[in-house]
């Protein structure tokens, strides 16, 4: 599944190569002595590096629905991360290659290429862009330890300065400016939308009830104040609680998976105590407001609609499957049979258990199996085959803690299940 090329990827590749394609008639092909090769490489890496920076900004816009052509927001974030990483590497290649290309002329010329007199302002704009890049990427890449999430997020806004400076640098030096205007406006609009317009377009909900499911796990039942959002099962939202009595995370947005069926007039969200913000939400005051942005992701995307499904959920990762089961319970048309394995530590941690068993009893298309780690250890191939003999033939959906996910990926690939038939979403960096 991760190796598939999506329609969004193709658009991204086209945009990425656009400035290079436009510049190539100017650059020509490298020929002659090594310094001409280095000059060519230096320019090409600069063009690609800036294009990647701008596209990393474009894909960070987080417009609900924009993530679908990319296979969901988690995949889009990975693309963002990947683009940012390569942009950082390439701009350093760019500077170094152009500096070294001048060494055959003289060492002084090489240094003057990189650090020219101030009158060559365009070069210094490039350096300022790089400094801005280091400032906001150093914490992202853990150069000096991991900063607090909210501080990291504020620091990440320096990226806008890096984009502006990089863009200015390129506009002064580029032969053909329009691709940079195009990507530049797209990238900066994405940031402007994310930081300016998006917060005002969030949906207001009121917390109707806070239902405790187990120790450290609650389900929030949210009543829309306006129209509310339209979503599919397994999608997730960013939720910002506004309860003034919250000790942490007030007004901060965090991603949570929806556990209600799309036809439900209430939005239900299962929340496990995993950090300051989600800990505070365990005791959030009913009838206070929350802001919801979304939905995102396409967890239940089908690549093989003709096949039956195998759902493997563990811990709080059961929530998208709860949403899926509730959808089946409301009479939604199922594409084939669904077998859900709930991988819990023990019966105490198997929240939602009764509800899921009830749905399984009432609906033939849905089978439910519990697996307790305390009794059986990690899920084994034998256990799977015993309860679901055709599991290798099904389209498989995974959601759970990273270790469980890794174990299941390994187990399934050992059984010859191709990666294209395994869906998983891991939120560990959202």
């Amino acid at each position: 599944m991760r190796r598939l090329i999506r329609s969004g990827d193709i658009a991204l590749i086209v945009l990425l190569l656009l400035p290079l394609a436009v510049a190539l008639p100017w650059l020509g092909w490298p020929r002659g002595p090594p310094e001409l090769w280095l000059t060519w490489v230096g320019r090409v890496t600069g063009i690609l590096g800036l294009a990647m920076m701008l596209l990393a900004a474009v894909v960070s816009c987080r417009v609900p629905g924009f993530d679908r052509p990319f296979g969901g927001l988690t995949r889009l974030w990975k693309l963002h991360h990947w683009l940012g990483f390569w942009a950082f590497i390439l701009v350093m290649f760019h500077a170094l290659a152009l500096g070294l290309a001048s060494v055959p002329t003289s060492l002084n010329a090489a240094v003057a290429t990189l650090f020219p007199p101030v009158s060559h302002g365009s070069i210094w704009l490039g350096w300022l862009a790089w400094v801005a890049l280091v400032v906001f990427l150093a914490p992202t890449f853990d150069f000096f330890g991991k900063p607090h999430y909210q501080r990291w997020k504020r620091l990440h806004l320096v990226s806008a300065a890096a984009l502006l400076l990089g863009l200015w640098h390129a506009l002064l030096l580029a032969g053909e400016a329009w691709p940079w205007w195009l990507l530049g406006i797209a990238g900066l609009s994405a940031i402007a939308w994310r930081k300016g317009a998006a917060p005002r377009r969030q949906h207001a909900y009121r917390i109707e009830t806070v239902e405790p499911l187990a120790r450290g796990v609650v389900e929030l039942v949210l009543r829309p104040e306006g129209g509310g959002i339209h979503y599919e099962t397994g999608q997730f939202v960013y939720l910002s609680p506004l309860d003034e009595s919250l000790p942490a995370g007030r007004g901060e947005e965090h991603p949570y998976t929806i556990s209600s069926a799309p036809s439900d007039d209430r939005l239900r969200i299962g929340i496990k105590d995993l950090g300051d913000a989600s800990h505070a939400l365990q005791t959030v005051t009913p009838e206070t407001r929350v802001l919801v942005e979304g939905p995102y992701g396409e967890f239940f995307e089908r690549h093989f609609p003709e096949r039956d499904m195998l759902w493997l959920g563990g811990g709080i990762g059961i929530t998208p499957f709860v949403g899926g089961a509730r959808d089946l319970a409301t009479g939604a048309e199922a594409e084939g049979h669904v077998h859900l394995f709930y991988l819990a530590h023990d019966s105490e941690r198997a929240y939602y258990r009764e509800e899921l068993e009830g749905i399984a009893e009432a609906h033939e298309v849905f089978t439910f199996t519990l697996h307790f780690y305390r009794d059986h250890g990690p899920l084994s191939e034998a256990f799977l085959r015993e309860h679901c003999p055709d599991f290798t033939e099904r389209e498989i959906y995974l959601c759970g803690p990273p270790a469980m996910n890794a174990h299941l990926q390994w187990l399934l690939s050992e059984q010859g299940v191709p990666a294209s038939r395994i869906h998983s979403e891991v939120f560990d960096f959202l």
């Binding site: 170094l96 060492l107 290429t113």
Partner: protein, 281 residues
Amino acid sequence: MNIHKIAYSFFIAFVASLITLVSVSALSSSDRDEIDDDGLDPITLAELAEHDSAESCWKAIDGRVYDITDYVPNHPTEESVILEWCGREATEGWDNKRPGVPHSPRAEGMLEDYLIGRLVDQTVEPVAAETSSTDEKAGDDADIAETRLSPAEDQRLHQALMGLPLDGRYRGVFSDSDEMQVNVQFDLRDGRLSNIRYRHLAYRGVDYFLLGEGDDLYPVMVQHQQLIDGLEGQPLTSIFALYEPERLAEDIDGYSGATLPGNKVHSAFRDAINRGVYSWP
């Protein structure tokens, strides 16, 4: 190795490379760019203007003159763009590769390979802007610079080796029958005659300089004067015009130019050249 570590390693490698490059450059004594302008051949705007085509393209940039003929085919733009500036002051073109965008420091480095001289205006004063600092330096170092000229730069040596007359003041004589008839003095500058005058002019005991306007031979004295006036400012080789003095002197009172003994004056000039420089300029 996760991508965080790769990014960090690249970052460190990049910074280390920059530091290495800058420090190696600072530590290696490269005085290639420090060529003293005074050591460069002076080139006038007129000379510059003669090299205005792809066959020979000279450009003056920031007071220095470059012969970029060999580079023209390698320039990344259309040839017309670079040829437009040949044979003239091209600093503006250099500083505006595109409007407002100067050539790169690397291009500056490459340009120095084509340096051939410094631009001077007609009065042989450097046009370069940085006069105050170079003037000071020139004052201090002028004598030393003279004696230190390398064999590649010493024009006086070149002229001597090629058997060409050196710049300087010359004196020469024509004598016949134990009588000095012509004694001429002139200066040679860049191969051209100047300050030409007779120190002595006589024939059969008559000193021409003592003649009055009414004397019979006075017009001949005037014609002699016309001969050297006609040579003033001309190349040295123009003394051969003295074989046909009518080219230089008018017919005055029946003494036609054709009868003038211009070959005596010519002989005095040749004598001066053979004697060598009488005094340095």
